[in-house]
């Protein structure tokens, strides 16, 4: 069977790939739907275990604040990454996560090693193999890590460590901030100084970070647009 297929003519190869792509979309949609259903069920199942209820008003408020930032980001990622990955790897990547920090560089690396060009059947196949492998390795490493974390649970819940876990968010935005301020160094000082000044002068805004980050985020995009139009961002 395989030997026979290896001898496919160019036309036969094209027809075979078309059929393959059709099945990738059909099966990709089914798997995506099933996985999304399972992921959405998790909070409710956890609620049953914890005997807790979802507060729908708080959920809608939180979801709006998150969606206004992350849905446009998802759209941009989707438009950029799909042509790089091909269909099969895209279905997998958007379910398995860690896209920009892991799956994309991994797929690009595999593609370069295989010398496959973007948009070809070879790229489609290599990217899918690469993303699937990367996801499986991540799952194995995390599962082993979580097993090893079990004996450390009493340590992790020690009150001495409370300041560490209460400051996860400042730790993230300090580290991430430096990285992004370096990337946008020509305009980063404006939102940073403005945000600090506003929060010092109007302390009630300190607890309104979800509103603040939408306003400051929009303002920064506006500032970067002005810089871009003036050619100040040319490298």
């Amino acid at each position: 069977m395989e030997n026979k297929n290896n001898l496919l003519s160019a036309e036969g190869r094209r027809a075979w790939m078309e059929q393959y792509n059709r099945s990738i979309h059909r099966e990709g949609r089914i798997w995506t739907l099933v996985c999304l259903g399972a992921l959405l069920a998790v909070p409710f199942l956890m609620g049953m275990v914890l005997q807790a209820k979802t507060d729908m008003n708080s959920f809608l408020k939180g979801f709006f604040n998150v969606a206004i930032i992350y849905y446009p980001t998802s759209l941009v990622e989707y438009l950029i990454y799909v042509p790089m990955l091909g269909s099969g790897a895209s279905y997998l990547s958007f379910i398995t996560g860690n896209l920009s920090n892991l799956k994309i560089p991994c797929a690009v690396n595999a593609r370069e090693m295989a010398d496959a060009r973007v948009g070809t059947p070879e790229n489609e196949i290599i990217s899918t193999l690469s993303v699937a492998t990367s996801s499986l390795v991540t799952v194995v490493v995390l599962a082993l890590g979580v097993l090893l974390l079990q004996p450390l649970q009493p340590v992790l819940s020690n009150p001495v460590l409370t300041p560490a876990f209460d400051n996860v968010v400042p730790a993230l935005f300090g580290a991430l901030g430096l990285k992004y301020f370096l990337k946008g160094k020509k305009f980063a000082a404006i939102p940073l100084v403005l945000s600090c000044a506003v929060c010092i002068l109007v302390p009630s805004l300190i607890r309104q970070t979800s509103v603040l980050l939408i306003v400051i985020g929009a303002l920064t995009i506006g500032v970067s647009f002005v810089f871009y139009k003036k050619g100040a961002l040319d490298e």
Partner: protein, 249 residues
Amino acid sequence: MDVMEKSLLEKLNSPAMYLIVGGVIALVVAMCVYFMVKSWRAGVAVGMDRRVLKKAIVSSATFTVLPAFSVLLGVVALSGSMGIPLPWLRLSVIGNLQYEVNVAQIAATSVGLSGLKITELTADAFVTIALVMTAGILGGALLCLFTLKAYAKKLGGKPKAAGSGKKSFGDWAMIAMFVGMCAAYIGSYAGQAAQKEYLPLATALIAAAAMALCEVLERKCGMKWLENFDLAASMLVAMGAAVLLGGVM
């Protein structure tokens, strides 16, 4: 940590929670294996060299090991405030550290907490936060579900033309959005410092200093491998410092 907090953390780490998470991860593993086998067979069928396919698998596996440890450090970082099972799920599939921490923080303030703190967390707040984290990240998967077939057809399998290398405004807008997001949070820590609550700002500054050191090592000392760890490592350094400073401030 009082008895109530400890009991919530124990519930968040209970076997039933692991079972739920393990089931979903097993489902995603099945999806990966299915696509892997399918694409391997397709590669063989269109005449690709098996050695090339094998090389793609081996190189992807080795490429992933270091970043996966960084992802694991993310689970450690979140485990004290959300338990282990939920961060394990979110970082094994669909999420990433940056998204999870930010969205958990936004969701926590939406349910009326002052932030993502185990000292304030309740079971109701936890499940609401978990639902916000889940629903907020579905954009890409939903786009795949409803538009990928049409988008892939539009792309038509044409090789992508090489760009000029210059960043478009779209690229800058993405950077600007994250600059704005970081500025908003750091501004709020500066505001807290003005109210004599210094620890969040100190933690952020230490994380920034650790990241600056990583950047120097990566760029000037050729330690490119550090890129896989810089974010998680800087966070852990700052969180460690917060423990030491917590007693002083």
